[in-house]
């Protein structure tokens, strides 16, 4: 081939040192290109897949609800994730909470977005097609303020999505406003009703502030859930350091990020011992080490929330890190990797 002095090269020569970079693609493009082809037969067999009921996920890493949008499809190779998870969809339209809706505090963030929603019809009309266009199964998160509100939403979403995640960290307006998910009986009602309207996998996402996570996880399992997700953000009340007034318009928001990890680790450990169905860990996962910590206490998959805001590629990095660890150790699965580690 004859080298051609193209336009870019001319510009480079003219415009000084910074232009040396102009020819390079952005780091995002390089990240896309660096991804492993999980179907490449020359890669030794590492099986990262995980089953959630009838659904098999390619990899055990997915975003946390509310911390992902189809917008990310252009920024990260979504195909490397096990699934995408939507923001929670409610039965009726909701506007969400007043400003401020989020803030950062040391080792965590607190959000009181309040789950704005356009209802199932709005979701199907505007958001779902964009999720469906991504190369990963869509787990649709569903919420409600009465145990009776979940099944109609799932029914309305009908054949769309690959699985449903029931966000039961919502105040139960039929009772005293405590979370539906803090009451095993309410969890049972929700799951049993949803089970009647769908054969797709049901994941129940439990809250942190419960008397017994084991009892809540067992209630979900007994009522027919295919997995539990442990856990949601922890209700908290950040104050402005100067004015001492609540920062959030809603006064209270959910604390997420690194500072909740030791708390959620215990919950995942307890839940894993209480049920046979897979436990999906969610709370402060930002690195492959965090993921392995959760796998080591019994999780089958992890969700990445807060970490994605600062590092949109965090979840993909975790997938790649898991793969690399397995390849380096010469093992075929995360279980084997952990057994090897434990034997050291």
């Amino acid at each position: 081939m004859v080298p051609v002095l193209d336009d870019t090269a001319v510009t480079d020569a003219r415009a000084g040192h910074a232009d040396a970079r102009a020819g390079h693609a952005d780091a995002r493009a390089a990240f896309f290109a660096a991804g492993p082809d999980l179907r490449d037969p020359t890669i030794p067999a590492v099986d990262l897949s995980v089953r959630i009921g009838s659904l098999t996920l390619r990899t055990p890493v997915m975003p946390a609800s509310g911390c992902f949008g189809p917008e990310l499809g252009a920024l990260i190779p979504v195909a490397e994730l096990g699934a995408t998870v939507t923001k929670t969809v409610f039965g009726s339209a909701r506007g969400g909470n007043p400003v401020h809706r989020l803030t950062e505090i040391p080792a965590g963030m607190v959000n009181s977005v309040g789950i704005p929603s356009r209802g199932p019809a709005g979701y199907l009309a505007t958001l779902h097609p964009r999720y469906a266009a991504l190369d990963a199964p869509t787990i649709i998160s569903v919420g409600g303020h009465r145990t009776s509100e979940y099944a109609p939403v799932v029914a309305a979403l009908g054949e769309h999505g690959a699985a449903f995640e029931l966000n039961v960290s919502c105040p139960n307006l039929d009772r005293d406003g405590t979370d539906i998910g803090s009451d095993p009986a309410a969890i049972r009602e929700v799951v049993a009703a949803v089970r009647l309207v769908t054969e797709k996998p049901i994941i129940v996402k439990l809250p942190v502030l419960v008397a017994s996570i084991a009892a809540c996880a067992r209630a979900a399992e007994e009522a027919g859930a295919d997995a539990v997700c442990v856990a949601n953000s922890i209700p908290a009340m950040p104050l402005d350091v100067l004015t001492r007034r609540p920062i959030l318009g809603n006064v209270i928001g959910g604390l997420s990020g690194p500072s909740i990890k030791p708390i959620v680790l215990r919950l995942v450990w307890l839940a894993s011992r209480a049920v046979q169905i897979p436990v999906i860990a969610c709370g402060g996962v930002g690195s492959v080490e965090d993921a392995l910590d959760y796998f080591s206490v019994g999780a089958s998959a992890v969700q990445v929330g807060t970490a994605s805001f600062g590092r949109p590629f965090a979840a993909v990095e975790i997938v790649r890190g898991l793969l690399e660890r397995c390849l380096d150790a010469g093992v075929g699965s995360i279980r084997e990797l952990l057994e090897l580690e434990a034997a050291l």
């Binding site: 336009d7 000084g16 232009d19 952005d26 493009a29 401020h100 809706r101 950062e104 963030m109 959000n111």
Partner: protein
């Protein structure tokens, strides 16, 4: 305040990049200038768009959320910059973007520690910026403090499009005003308004601008467009002037943000009328909105 009707100009696809820090220096007592090498963003960013900057850990202190920052100046490297641009590229700055920020809290304190030569992860360009309707000939731009960075991109576009602009630079003291040299470079007429001599005072400034533009010479016809960055008093000023002159007003807003892309819903603007409908998202529907009513 409301979302403007869709524009004919498509928005650039945001990317994230590990941008080298070329310049990082104090600007006066209160601000810092950051010049980053990112031709992709310099080339595609529209006036008034912003970045999300991932702040590196400050010692043991990890900053989780990226910080939104306006793109103060775009200096694309290649000829692929808007066709109308004919200002000379200063050598060594081509393929770069410039930001100016104030150190206010944990995140910006940590950002201030970043050293020249290191890399900063940025995502952008983001949001919907300022747009001049085709045929615009004159515009009044208004900025205060770091808000001046929010409208400087409009001054850049105006210069490239041959639109005559006046920029109100507001701040507490004359030595704290940003953007003087940028306006000089871009040929933007400047009106300074500071707190110390009362010239930024709302009635005073309003009277001055009205007198300035409602004069009888051709030079002094009212602007065809008012663009402002920031809520509060200046946005009210812009809205009042726009109403007085009967011209459109575009206002850039701020909000606490997590994703900057439109999916976390952290940044909804506080203009909900119906509790079942969310306000527009500052990061995706804005940060620039059509301002019809004064904003507090």
């Amino acid at each position: 305040m409301s979302v403007r009707p869709p524009s004919a100009v498509p928005r650039p696809q945001p990317v994230w990049d590990d941008a080298e820090v070329l310049v990082h220096e104090p600007v006066g007592e209160r601000y810092r200038r950051l010049v980053l090498a990112s031709d992709t963003i310099a080339r595609t960013a529209q006036a008034g768009q912003f970045l999300m900057i991932t702040v590196p850990p400050n010692g043991g202190d990890t900053i989780l959320l990226p910080r939104p920052m306006a793109i103060h100046r775009r200096r694309p490297a290649s000829a692929a910059r808007p066709a109308t641009t004919d200002r000379p590229a200063s050598p060594g700055t081509a393929g770069t973007i410039e930001l100016i920020y104030g150190v206010v809290g944990r995140g910006t304190r940590a950002l201030a520690m970043v050293t020249v030569g290191s890399r900063l992860q940025v995502t952008g360009p983001l949001g919907r910026g300022f747009e001049f309707p085709p045929g615009t000939r004159t515009a009044l731009l208004i900025g205060r403090g770091v808000g001046i960075c929010g409208v400087m991109g409009a001054a850049e576009d105006a210069a490239a499009l041959g639109i005559r602009t006046t920029m109100v630079l507001s701040g507490q003291r004359p030595d704290q005003l940003l953007g003087r040299s940028d306006c000089a470079e871009l040929g933007t007429r400047v009106i300074e308004a500071t707190d110390d001599d009362g010239s930024s005072d709302l009635p005073t400034l309003t009277a001055r601008l009205l007198a300035d533009f409602d004069g009888s010479t051709a030079e002094r016809t009212p602007p065809e467009m008012v663009m402002v960055c920031g809520a509060g008093v200046l946005a009210r000023l812009a809205a009042e002037l726009g109403a007085h002159w009967g011209v459109p007003v575009q206002a850039s807003l701020e909000a606490h943000m997590a994703c900057g892309l439109g999916y976390c819903h952290g940044c909804a603007a506080p203009v909900q009328t119906d509790p079942s409908v969310e306000g527009p998202l500052v990061c995706a529907d804005g940060p620039v909105f059509a301002a019809r009513i004064p904003i507090d």
